[in-house]
């Protein structure tokens, strides 16, 4: 058997929130691990790590993505937006105004996903909102306030800028 060179770590560049960052990662590292442990961006939360709960949601190429289900090496050269890139966004404000927060652990994932929903579908109907919100789990079960926050934004016709 010849030896297969499995470089344990490599230097990659990640384009996050409009900035380019160097990161030293294993091929097996997920984007979630790279964001949190290499870039110090801890907004995306480590929770189920199975794509079930949405706490780690970020945008990759403008689309919502479970960062626990992508390898960091897979998203090199693709624009990534994390909750840190949505500071003071209309969705964040709507969550605060509607008390759409309890323990807060799921909140970054919900905000990123809702930002993507409202940006992509500013006229989303109830069915579409429900379909998108099924991607995130709130352990405190505060779904009603989250739904209200989204509907408030949709009703105001407020489009967000990426």
């Amino acid at each position: 058997m010849k030896s297969l060179s499995k470089a344990s770590k490599q230097l990659i560049q990640l384009h996050v929130n409009g900035e380019t960052h160097d990161a030293v990662v294993r091929s097996a590292d997920t984007l979630l691990i790279a964001l949190r442990e290499q870039l110090g961006l801890t907004g995306a939360k480590r929770a189920c790590e199975n794509g079930d709960c949405g706490a780690c949601t970020v945008l990759v190429n403008g689309k919502s993505s479970h960062s626990c289900l992508s390898l960091a090496v897979e998203v090199v050269n693709q624009p990534i937006t994390t909750i840190e890139g949505l500071l003071d966004s209309p969705v964040s404000k709507a969550f605060v105004d509607n008390w759409a927060i309890q323990c807060g652990y799921c909140t970054p994932g919900f905000i990123v996903n809702c930002h993507s929903l409202i940006t992509t579908h500013p006229n989303a109907d109830d069915q579409l909102v429900e379909e998108w919100l099924q991607s995130n789990i709130c352990r405190c079960t505060g779904y009603e306030e989250i739904r209200e926050a989204v509907h408030t934004l949709l009703a105001s016709g407020q489009k967000e800028n990426e």
């Binding site: 294993r26 990759v60 919502s64 993505s65 992508s70 996903n113």
Partner: protein, 278 residues
């Protein structure tokens, strides 16, 4: 965290991808084709799979095609489930895959990944079975186009180093009357107790199932029972249940009795709705 290391390679041609796989195999290493990668990552994290190399197919242009060319719909294996739904090119497939996992996951899960899943469900294959899809497979320098049912019967029968490049569908199947029904145990997001996809061609219902047996299937015998319109619907449904290819699944997602009950209702709903379109 995935506890083992592997090489990540993103080739740009099918030939290169297959060669990488076969070379690794020849040298005694395990390689895996990687498309959306969600299953490899989740199973790798809990040590239910290990690999020395992942070969990412998303860099291959052929695997990213989603278009109608001449009289065929071509779907690359690396096209995401959401892209298929949003394209509206094959509504039955769009509706079926729209019930796989959740919306965010469907941005990542690809049709090729779903069809080659380790899980028994592979729901994306149901409309393809009903629509007599063909598949383009690549191995080494060679590519072959063959009917899906010739390489998928209970499970995939691919050669070592061979992988799915594209799915090809006759345009005549795309806009036929159709219905997709998926029943889950509790929430809308979940594995199916029963999932079915059906279309009506030449006044005949074609239907494929997932969650019923240990593999997705389409049964000509079962269809012929369902299409015998001289017999009352519930009688046909009862007879159809005797034409399943094997015993109904009995597991934690649903007992055999419960799945049978749900299947009976799914068939009834399917027949009542689709027969109106004939």
């Amino acid at each position: 965290m995935i506890a083992f290391d592997f090489n990540y390679i993103k080739p740009t041609t099918a030939k290169e991808a297959s060669k990488l796989f076969l070379n690794a195999k020849q040298e005694g290493y395990k390689a895996m084709f990687y498309s959306g990668g969600t299953e490899i990552i989740t199973l790798g994290r809990v040590n239910r799979l290990q690999t020395d190399m992942v070969i990412d197919l998303k860099g291959i242009q052929e695997c990213n095609v989603l278009e109608i060319s001449d009289n065929e719909l071509i779907i690359g294996s690396a096209v995401s489930l959401n892209e298929i739904t949003h394209s509206k090119l094959f509504p039955l497939l769009g509706k079926t895959v729209q019930r796989i996992a959740d919306h965010t996951s469907r941005n990542k899960i690809t049709i090729g990944g779903n069809l080659n899943s380790e899980l028994i469900y592979k729901e994306g294959i149901l409309p393809l079975l009903a629509a007599d899809a063909k598949v383009k497979l690549a191995k080494g320098k060679e590519q072959r186009i063959i009917p899906l049912e010739a390489v998928f019967n209970k499970q995939w029968k691919l050669d070592e180093g061979e992988f799915l490049v594209q799915i090809l569908l006759d345009k005549g199947y795309l806009d036929l009357p159709h219905k997709a029904l998926k029943k889950t145990r509790i929430s809308k997001v979940g594995y199916p107790v029963v999932s079915a996809a059906a279309l009506v061609k030449d006044n005949q219902i074609r239907i494929a199932f997932s969650g019923v047996c240990q593999y997705p299937f389409r049964s000509i015998e079962l269809e012929s029972v369902l299409n015998d319109t001289k017999v009352p619907i519930m009688e046909r449904v009862g007879t159809a249940l005797r034409h399943l290819p094997e015993d109904i699944v009995d597991d934690i997602q649903g007992t055999k009795a419960y799945r049978t009950f749900v299947l009976r209702n799914v068939l009834k709903d399917m027949l009542e709705e689709l027969e109106l379109t004939k």
